[in-house]
């Protein structure tokens, strides 16, 4: 459904093989695509306008580098400007206040209560003593929800039932937290509409009663054009110090992050992913920028790859690949390296353009497929792995029996392996450099 900006721009510049400077005409054509791509990612209309203006100013007259096309050059500028706009990731102000008071505000259903629990867990891991205050007296069972989460995490939760006044509850909660020796208090306030004056007055009163050092807007990453109004209204009412975007594990592009950051100027501090209570990630502007552009999260993948992969091993396999000596043993090792990166779904999702496709793939099947391939290779002798041509009918029957698969499946694997080898040879002759066995392998297998 969504085309990535890279593809779109490629279209604009198709046939335009020349090098040199980006002309005004080039940039104008590109800017229309940039504008549409950002709008599709739910970046606010007005924010897009400003953004495009900035990119345009930067792009005209830029020298197109030898190695890339004009389209890629523009994407690069857009990407950089997105990173600038998203700003540095924010850190929580801990230690300036005792206890540190953090107030969470937001619309209904944005994920405040879950985020409060996630944040409490995160801060405890970092050595703080967290304390939760349940100030949502309106939504049915909101207090029960925070109490249940508190029990799961073994973190104390203060509440006064549904009859208390939220500013008083919060003030009492802070006093209790101080008594108990907690170092961080998290105030979970009720969800409210930014245009509901009475409710907005209530959070002002909570703020006045507790004097929090952090006031964080918890916002759904799926928010559309409204992001600007919501963030502006909350910021005007209580003076935000940070943002947490939630439900980032969905497939929303998350343009709301840009809009909110741009109009409030406050940093994005964390991202909420998943329903498990450890699903809180640090914010990386570069990755968010890639996501908004639909470029996939290659950076996270590369980072994980460099953390997890055995560089020498990869290098060696790459060389063997290029020299055409790549055998099933190498194949197995490469597969194990990939498995270290985490569940297949997560790895694939980080590849450019795969996000959309992923929805159509039954990944539980794909994981099983990997396991099967592994089992088949394990059932071969080292000699067979190094020289798959040895495999005739009888050996195949033995391998199938040994791995709990069928001869057809063994044949299928061998066929895929041969195809891969052929592809490698072609790649080699077309001179595609040594970008590494990993990307080739991923490209070859999937």
């Amino acid at each position: 459904m969504f085309e990535s900006l890279g593809n779109r721009l490629q279209g604009v510049f198709d046939g335009l093989q020349r090098r040199g400077k980006l002309t005004e005409a080039d940039v104008d054509a590109a800017m229309r695509e940039v504008r549409l791509a950002l709008l599709e990612a739910d970046v606010n209309f007005k924010v897009v306008k400003q953004f495009v203006k900035r990119v345009r100013e930067r792009a005209v007259g830029v020298e197109v580098m030898q190695t890339i096309t004009p389209g890629q050059q523009v994407v690069k500028i857009v990407h950089e400007e997105l990173i600038n706009t998203l700003g540095e990731p924010g850190r929580l102000e801990l230690g300036l206040q005792n206890p540190t008071i953090i107030m969470l505000v937001g619309l209904q259903g944005s994920g405040k209560t879950t985020t409060a629990a996630k944040l409490a867990l995160h801060l405890r891991k970092k050595g703080s003593r967290p304390y939760l205050v349940a100030a949502d007296v309106y939504r049915p069972a909101a207090i029960d929800q925070l109490q249940a989460l508190g029990r799961q995490l073994d973190i104390p939760v203060y509440d006064e039932g549904v009859n208390g006044r939220p500013p008083t509850i919060c003030a009492n909660g802070v006093a209790k937290a101080r008594e108990s020796g907690a170092t961080v208090v998290l105030l979970d306030t009720a969800g409210r509409l930014n245009i509901d004056d009475m409710m907005m007055d209530e959070i002002k009163a909570i703020k006045a009663a507790t004097d929090p050092i952090e006031v964080i807007l918890v916002a759904d990453a799926m928010t559309g054009q409204e992001a600007v109004r919501v963030a502006t209204d909350f910021n005007n009412a209580v003076g935000l110090t940070g943002l947490i975007m939630t439900k980032v594990d969905g497939d929303a592009r998350g343009g709301a992050a840009i809009s909110m950051r741009e109009v409030t100027g406050v940093p994005i501090k964390y991202l909420g992913t998943g329903e498990k209570l450890d699903g809180l990630e640090l914010f990386h502007p570069d990755r968010m920028a890639s996501r908004i552009l639909g470029m996939g999260d290659v950076l996270t993948l590369i980072e994980q790859a460099s953390e997890q992969l055995d560089e020498e091993e990869t290098q060696r396999a790459g060389e063997r690949l290029m020299s055409g000596k790549f055998d099933l043993e190498d194949f197995l090792q490469q597969m194990q390296q990939i498995k270290k990166l985490g569940p297949l779904g997560k790895v694939l999702g980080m590849l450019p353009g795969m996000g959309q496709m992923m929805n159509d793939v039954d990944l539980s099947g794909a994981e099983g497929e990997l396991k099967r391939v592994e089992a088949i290779i394990y059932s071969m002798t080292p000699k067979e792995r190094r020289n798959p041509r040895l495999l005739k009918a009888s050996r195949k029957r033995r391998i199938a029996a040994g791995s709990g698969t069928s001869v057809q499946e063994v044949n299928q694997l061998l066929r895929q392996f041969r195809e891969m080898q052929t592809m490698m040879k072609q790649l080699k002759s077309s001179g595609a450099g040594r970008r590494g066995a990993l990307s080739n392998l991923l490209g070859g297998k999937f």
Partner: protein, 304 residues
């Protein structure tokens, strides 16, 4: 009801359609007029594709009718928008039968449980014997939340243990509902992102339990979308349609500044109609969707 839709859309009207009259003015139609129109539609979260489509349709109509003043485009725009909101088949909840099952699905925090509470009260008011089942066994206190709504609406709630298998709870609830002679069962389900493969499979299992237990059930599968959601709403609708064949949308939180423009894209791409709109936090703040009233609400001057 008209009034409540109009009231809840007043924000939209002020922010977007109020601007249409201003933005278009009554000067000559120029290229800029169409650009302004496109901008306004995009700001109502209609999405790029749908906005471009609507502008092209308006342009075609204008050319055909030889319009030359910008304010003449407003009735045309209205006509184009109304045409997108095609007439849906009759709502199955209203068809009499022994037991009607309505599944309510959606992403986390869209307002499923609240909407069920309101729908329970609404249908109880129409003389139906309503029962609720708490299929969200995952989220902390989700069962308690539905019970509070059940109390408010005065309808019984069936629930299992937190952490239990939702399909099993729902299977039991269908038998209990039938045994006790209730004729309308709302199935609350856990919020889930449409990208979570396993959770969508779980939902399919719930669907098939309904399917196997009662003839032609579930009779309606309602996707709850909240109005501030942007383009992702369409992806949600596509995925939930694939998995559990959603038959309608409940559009919630229309009392905020959310514009709900993405329902036009959902109508156009999937033909899935809006069935109800949620207009506030009170238990009576829900109304059946009325396309004419919806568009009237978008265009009419605010009552003085």
């Amino acid at each position: 009801m008209f009034k409540s839709i109009r009231k809840s859309l007043s924000r939209t009207r002020q922010s977007v359609f109020g601007q249409i009259q201003n933005a278009l003015g009554n000067g000559d139609i120029t290229e800029e007029t169409y650009e302004d129109l496109e901008a306004l539609l995009i700001q109502a979260d209609m999405g790029v594709d749908t906005s471009l489509f609507i502008v092209e349709q308006v342009r075609d109509r204008a050319v055909e009718k030889h319009l030359y003043r910008a304010d003449q485009l407003i009735p045309e725009l209205r006509g184009v928008l109304r045409a997108i909101l095609i007439e849906p088949p009759p709502l199955q909840i209203d068809t009499p039968r022994l037991l009607t099952i309505v599944m309510v699905v959606g992403v986390n925090g869209s307002g499923k449980t609240t909407s069920i509470g309101k729908l329970a009260k609404y249908y109880k008011g129409l003389g139906r014997r309503v029962q609720l089942v708490a299929g969200d066994t995952f989220r902390a206190a989700a069962i308690d939340q539905l019970k509070v709504w059940g109390d408010r609406a005065g309808v019984p709630v069936i629930s299992g243990q937190p952490g239990g298998d939702p399909a099993a709870v729902i299977y039991d609830s269908i038998r209990a509902t039938r045994a006790r002679g209730y004729d309308l069962l709302f199935v609350d389900t856990a919020g889930r992102l449409h990208t979570k493969f396993n959770l969508m499979k779980e939902l399919e299992k719930v669907y098939s339990v309904c399917q196997k237990s009662v003839h032609q059930a579930p009779h309606e599968v309602l996707l709850v979308l909240d109005a501030p959601t942007g383009q992702n709403a369409l992806l949600q609708a596509i995925k939930f349609k694939e998995s559990v064949h959603i038959t309608g949308v409940v559009l919630t939180k229309l009392d905020g500044t959310g514009k709900g423009g993405m329902v036009f894209a959902i109508y156009r791409e999937l033909g899935v109609p809006v069935r109800f709109i949620g207009t506030g936090e009170g238990i009576d703040d829900i109304a059946p969707f009325d396309a004419d009233a919806f568009i009237d609400g978008l265009f009419d001057e605010p009552p003085a």
